[in-house]
Structures are given as C-alpha cells and as structure tokens.
C-alpha cells in the first residue's frame, strides 16, 4: 500500500467548511488508470461505460479516473451541430464518434492529455455547473503549477491561456454519475482543429502548452493532473 497516496490529511481548501467535521465522507475511492500506450477512442469509451454502469447499479462501488492520449479522431456530442464539421461526415479524414456528452465537436490526438472522470456526484455535489467549474479549476491549477496563467472566459466552458484555448471540457451524466471530462493540449499537432469549428466557437484560437513551455511533454503534466484531481475531488487512489 502506498502510504503517501492513502494518508488522510484534512486539507482545508477555501471551500472547506470548518463546521462540518470530516469523517467518512471526506474522501472517496477511485481507480486511477494511466495507460502508457495511445488508446483508441472506442476502447476508453467502453472502459468508462463499464465503471459508470457499475456505479449506477451499485452505489459506493469504485469511481475511476483516466489520463490518456487518443489516436487522432473527432468526437461530437448528442446535441452537436453538424455544421461545425467542415467536411462531410461520411468522408471524414479521421474517425468521428458521436458520444453522450455536452458541447460541440472536438478533436483528440496524441500529445493531448485526455482526462476521463467517472465520479458519483452524489458523493461530491449534485451540481453539474459546479462540476464543470471544478474541472476548469483543475486545469487552471495545473497550469499555475507550470507557471502559466490559465483563465476562464465568461459564459464559455474551458480554459484559455492568453487568447488561446488550451483546455476543453465536456461531460455526460446519468443518475449523477459522470463520464468524459476534459482535454488539455500539451505538445500536440493542432492542424486537425482546422477542419472543424472547435466547440462551435467561430474564430476560437487553439493553443498548446508547448507554445509557452517549449519541450514540455505529456509525461511532465500527468503527475500534476493526478495530484490536482485527487485533491480537488478528495479521492483516494485505490489499489488495482
């Protein structure tokens, strides 16, 4: 057992309520998966579905978090506007997946960290807006650790550096059990974004962390994400 990961230190963040003394609820358990190889999109989708299903059917079963990279693909939400695909869906240069999340089309590719969080919001807070803001804050905190200032844009979801969007967020939720999560461009090739209107936002400029920190790699960012996610959602990584 990894002592460090399992120590329960009462972290009093700005949101902690001193009147509520922490007991069982403070931490919940989650599996952490960080596949070393690049993962096909549909494979990771299946993983998430499995955990989500078991969490819905069996409350208190384990939550799960993945940090991984995908082969190049596009994904669109159920409510997405097909106009944001600047090509014929049937003649797509890359695989297109229609998935159960909010938001418009986005693009995944190696060099971008995708974070999937299958969490039971019943154990955290049953508030989707809160959850989206927490995901943004995680990305902002990670950028801060790297010495980059990440910002929100009013009325939009995601994280920007200067005028470039580096982090995207889109989630699905069933019985307050989440799926999907965020993506953070680290040192990826952004050219694939030119064939879509990312997130349905015209004139949005995309950026990646290597624009600010030359040479940064996915493996440099993953440990920061791991710790930031763990702290923000008060998770204990469960042994696998």
């Amino acid at each position: 057992m990894n002592k460090k990961l399992h120590s329960v230190s009462p972290e009093s963040g700005p949101n902690s309520n001193l009147d509520l003394t922490p007991q069982l609820a403070q931490f919940s358990s989650a599996f952490l998966f960080e596949p070393k190889n690049i993962v096909p999109f549909e494979t990771a989708l299946g993983w998430q579905k499995n955990i989500q299903k078991s969490l819905i059917e069996k409350p208190f079963s384990s939550q799960a978090v993945w940090f991984l990279e995908h082969f190049s693909c596009y994904t669109i939400g159920r409510g997405s506007d097909m106009k944001n695909l600047l090509f014929d869906e049937n003649k797509s240069p890359l695989p297109v997946f229609r998935i159960e999340r909010g938001g418009e089309v986005t693009h995944h590719m190696p060099g971008q960290i995708v974070g999937y969080l299958v969490l039971d919001l019943g154990l955290h807070k049953k508030d989707l807006s809160w959850y989206l803001r927490e995901l943004e804050q995680i990305l902002i905190d990670v950028l801060d650790l790297l010495g980059i200032e990440g910002t929100r844009v009013d009325g939009l979801t995601g994280v920007w550096c200067e005028d470039k969007k580096v982090g995207s967020i889109g989630i699905g939720c069933k019985r307050w059990v989440t799926q999907h999560g965020f993506s953070l461009n680290v040192n990826c090739d952004l050219i694939g974004f030119e064939k879509i209107i990312p997130c349905g936002l015209n004139n949005v400029k995309l950026g990646k962390l290597s624009d600010w920190i030359p040479g940064i790699k996915v493996c440099d960012v993953k440990p920061l994400l791991r710790e930031t996610v763990r702290r923000r959602f008060k998770l204990n990584w469960e042994n696998i």
Binding site: Q23, R101, H124
Partner: protein, 447 residues
C-alpha cells in the same frame, strides 16, 4: 425541466430517447438535457408510457417547466395527448401535475386511480428516495431473486409485499416480515439499547439479539482459506481507524442506572420515540453544557462546532459501517429525532445518504447494548473530539449510599476522547452530568 445545478435557470432538450406512445420504465432514461457543456440523462420516476412531448428536442425550457407527459396506462395516452399543453411555454405553464387527470373526465371508472404525471421536476433533482409512498406494487413487481424464491416457498403473494429496497424493490426480509417471520439478518445494528433485552417487545422493535436464545452464527465475508478485498466502505473505515492512531486518546468510564430512563422510555414509546433518540438527546443536552467535549482538534487550535450533531454508528450488512447524524440533537424534539433516525437508517440501508448526513457529526455514539455487551471501548473518528461507547443495561446488585442493597438496571458507558482537546476532568464531568440526567431527570428529555 430538471435543475442540473443550483445556478441553472433553463436547459436545452438535446434529444428525446423515447417517442410518444413508448413504454417507459421507472429509472429508464427518457430524454437528454444539456446545460452548459454537460449532458444529463433524465429518467422517469414512474412506470408508464410517454404520452406526449411538450417541448421538442432542440428547444430550451426554464427549470420547472413541463416538458412532457407520462401516463400510467396505454389507454390514457390518447386523452393525455388531447389535453397536452401546446408547445407554447405560456400554455404549458398552467399545466400542473394533476391537471391531465382532471381533464380526462370521459375516462371509465376503472382507471380512476391513474393520472398522467408531468415530467416536471424542480430542485432538488432526481432524488430516488422520493418514491417511498409508491412501494405497494401496482402490477409490475420488482423483487430480488432471493425474495422471489422465498415468496414461492412461503406462499407469499409478492403483490402484497411492501418493498424496502432501492426503488421499492422487494427484499428477502420484506417477504419474511410480510409472512410475520422474524427477520433473520438484522445486520444493521440499530441502537435500541440500553437494551431492554426482553422479549416483550413488538416484533418490529426486536432487532436486538435475545440472550435467552442460542446465539446466532457470526458474520463473515468470505469462506475458509479465502482473502476478500475490502469494499469501498470498509476501506474508508480502515483509513479513518488508522488515522486515529495519530490521536492521543484516553478512555474514561461510568456506570449509569437506567431504571428511570427505562420507565420514561415505556411512556414515550407509544409516541414512536426510540431509544436511539433518547440517548442522542441525552448526549446532546449534556454536550450543550460541556462544549469542550463537543470540540475537536484542528491545526489552528480547538475547533468548537456551531452545532451539536450526534452521529450514531450503524453497521452495514455488507461490511463497513456508517454514522448517520442527528443534527442539533440538543435542540430537536424526541419525536423529530426518532423520525429522522428511522429515515436515516432506512436510507443508509439503501445507501442513499447524502455526505453531510453521515459526515457532519461532532460527537459519536456507538452502541452494542442490543447484543448484551456490558462494556467496550470505541475508536475515535477523525475530526471529532470524543465518542461514547454504550453497553447494555443489565440488572445488577447495587449498594446505595446508605448501605442498602437492591437490584437495579445499570449501563456502562465509556468515553474515548482526544486528550489534546478534552482532558480527563472534562470527560469525567460530562459523564457525571450525563449520568445525572439519565438517572434522576430523564423526563427533561421531552422538553
């Protein structure tokens, strides 16, 4: 339109997963609502049929707006459709939950109980415990495999059984209690002590183990030779218990006579007051006079909570334990505490407690009295200053001050406390005061 967050004012219907006329099962996703970058599957609270879609996919509706109608039987679809509000929001606004049934006057009497239910949700959103009133099954029977088997063996009609499981699912115990058999696995150890370990209790109260009977076999999660992984709850308990090793604890014990408390309990029991409520209230009132014992260590100093919240440890049938909390135990009436406790335990069983309902305790009660245990000590939960272990109330030969000897009921309690915050004298005075309240003045609990 359900509220997906506290700040949400309207939501967009992304997709209807069902078409009008489709059968809908309770818990089945009916539509997808999007707010911001989040999609939420919205489920039906009832079995029935989607009669009408009021707000089509792609449209947005304010929170609380009627967006569709679900009826109970296929026969009602047509009438509900005829009476469905138009897609104009202002027309929809005056549709309330009951109106479709009031408008379907033409229907025959046989469906008098049925009414269309508007899919109209206001915060708090999907709370699956709200259907407790609907447990008597109307047609479709949801029962665990074991319950079904037991029912056929015992000749119990499942349609008459009230299900206590999630969504009213009938559990094996429900079948047994319907048949009037004692429930064999009372593994939520509901604290009924100081145990009146006598068998004159009504069956329902009799969660305690009767010492006159041969003891039942102990509990195990695995078979011989096996190693069983801890479940999540057990892991949480493990972490909390390990955490206590960093706390310098001491223990202090007291014997309390309970004859007065028992006779008071007999008086208030008909009003639905439980022993757990009595004990929680007694502890709450005493804590109000001994704030130091309600305090906890924090890195900044001694933290005095703004409320007195008494958590009561409850063992879970499938391992681990949980500590549902009776908020403001000092200020809440016995009747309210009893009701709250019944509700908390029921939802704890179904794992439906909200975090603040089991994590906001400022003092913990642990009771093994119902098993006839005369004394034990408890481990301090992190974040609190003290926990009280309560043993059974047993008949003892007691010598009083004047030297006379009599037989009295006596219960041993044992306080475990964090010495950084609570000192021996604090604990002793608290116990002395608690003992005085229980022995001499139990009637003050009802105030």
């Amino acid at each position: 339109m359900p509220a997906l967050s506290s700040t949400m004012t309207e939501g967009k219907i992304v997709e209807w997963l069902k078409n009008p006329g489709d059968k809908v099962e309770r818990g089945e996703s009916v539509l997808v609502v999007e707010s911001d970058k989040a999609d939420m599957d919205v489920e039906s609270f009832h079995d029935g049929f989607l009669a009408s879609i009021v707000m089509p996919a792609g449209s947005s509706a304010p929170v609380g707006e009627t967006i569709g109608l679900i009826v109970e039987t296929a026969d009602e679809i047509a009438s509900a459709q005829a009476n469905a509000p138009s897609t104009l929001p202002q027309a929809a606004a005056n549709q309330d939950k009951e109106s479709p049934s009031s408008q379907t006057q033409k229907k025959q009497a046989s469906v008098d109980s049925s009414q269309a239910t508007a899919i109209k949700q206001t915060p708090p959103v999907p709370d699956y415990s709200v259907n407790n009133e609907q447990f008597l099954n109307d047609g479709r029977i949801v029962a665990s495999p074991r319950a079904k088997k037991l029912a056929s063996q015992m000749g119990v009609d499942l349609a008459t059984v009230r299900g206590s499981g999630p969504h009213g699912r009938i559990q094996a115990e429900d079948v047994q209690s319907a048949k009037g058999q004692p429930i064999s696995i009372p593994w939520i150890a509901e604290s009924n002590a100081p145990a009146r370990i006598v068998s004159d209790m009504p069956l329902k109260e009799k969660k305690s183990v009767d010492t006159d009977k041969p003891p039942s076999a102990g509990k195990s999660f695995g078979s011989r030779g096996e190693t069983i992984a801890f479940n999540t709850l057990q892991q949480a308990v493990n972490r909390n218990m390990e955490e206590s090793l960093n706390t310098p604890c001491f223990r202090v014990g007291y014997s309390i006579l309970t004859d007065e408390l028992d006779s008071f309990y007999q008086q208030v029991k008909p009003n639905g007051v439980t022993m757990t409520a009595l004990l929680a209230k007694a502890v709450g009132l005493t804590l109000a006079r001994h704030p130091q014992v309600n305090a906890a260590f924090s890195s900044e100093g001694i933290a005095y909570p703004s409320q007195i919240n008494v958590a009561v440890a409850v063992a879970m049938e499938d391992g681990g334990l949980i500590t549902p909390v009776l908020q403001k135990a000092d200020e809440t009436s016995l009747a309210d505490l009893s009701l709250q406790w019944a509700d908390l335990v029921k939802r704890a069983r179904n794992k439906q407690l909200e975090p603040q309902e089991y994590s906001s305790g400022t003092f913990t009660l642990s009771n093994l009295g119902m098993f006839g245990v005369d004394r034990f000590d408890a481990i301090l939960p992190p974040g609190t200053g003290a926990i009280l272990a309560v043993g059974a109330s047993l008949s003892k030969v007691v010598a009083s001050k004047d030297g006379s000897i009599s037989i009295k009921k006596q219960m041993q309690v044992n306080l475990t406390a964090d010495h950084r915050v609570i000192y021996g004298a604090d604990g002793a005075l608290f116990l002395k005061d608690l003992s005085y309240l229980i022995e001499k003045n139990p009637y003050s609990l009802s105030s």
